[in-house]
């Protein structure tokens, strides 16, 4: 089964965990879906191997960046009528606070979805939704 088949099957059955499991790197990072009234939240379960600074401790900026990029991609897949694999063109990450040794949550908002390009804004937070640890805006190529 191709990745598109797997994503389509997961989406049509509402099995978002299977959607996440289709992406090896999402599994490696420990990403899990959480669906609430507003849509999809991508959760990065805390794991020692995501630590970038053992003294603080703080999660690696690269892991936070990967969470933001993944949350944006999963938001596109979650909202898409026809699934295509989004290709990241550019992402800009603002690091706002150090992310401690806790679960991290991220939600993407599609600000524009065109025929070829989609723009997504993403926020990541830990305990307090109003105190984001990082935000990002990303642009994806969304052509089949």
């Amino acid at each position: 089964m191709t990745i598109l088949d797997r994503l389509n099957e997961a989406k049509s059955s509402g099995n978002y965990a299977a959607m996440f499991e289709a992406v090896p790197y999402a599994r490696m990072l420990g990403l899990e879906p959480q669906v609430d009234g507003d849509g999809l939240i991508t959760v990065m379960k805390f794991s020692e191997h995501t630590i970038g600074n053992a003294a603080l401790p703080a999660i690696h900026g690269g892991a936070i960046g990967a969470l933001l990029e993944s949350a944006a991609i999963f938001e596109l897949l979650y909202r898409a009528e026809t699934i295509v694999l989004p290709k990241t063109i550019t992402i800009t990450i603002d690091y706002l606070r150090s992310a401690g040794a806790h679960d991290t949550f991220a939600r993407g908002t599609i600000t524009r979805h065109g025929r070829r390009v989609a723009n997504v804004h993403v926020e990541a937070w830990q305990g307090d939704r109003t105190q984001p640890v990082a935000t990002a805006h990303a642009i994806f190529l969304v052509m089949s």
């Binding site: 090896p24 603080l56 892991a63 990967a66 990029e69 992402i91």
Partner: protein, 149 residues
Amino acid sequence: MSDDKVRRLNALRGFTEGIPHNKALGIEALDLERATALFVLRYDPKLVGNPDTGTLHGGAITALLDGASGAAVFAALTEWKPIATLDLRIDYQRAADPGRDVLCRAHCYKVTKNVAFTRAVAYVDDEADPIATSAGTFMLGTKPGGKKP
């Protein structure tokens, strides 16, 4: 070996061994010269974004660019200070070649009193044919508690 070279080799080990996420991903520091860092990300199927093509996930490239850029800032400083990434912009030019390690050369091209500026290139064989490029800014002398001053 000069004291400077020993210090650099210790720093290389620190970036490779002392950072759990780098170890988990297979990111190693290969070289640190004045204001420049050379890192490698070892290809591994667990880092794949698209299992049909075997190309690496952008997130793994992000971790490589972020890590190398931070190291380049340390390599540019005359005395050790805690630093924190303020922002990182990554432009993806092409997919990473399946099965191939990815190199990253990061350069800290400007250090001011409070802020350092970096550019980095992730590539396989040829720096002129990048997988991704990045521009970053780093706050210098952040409090060890992690809060931005």
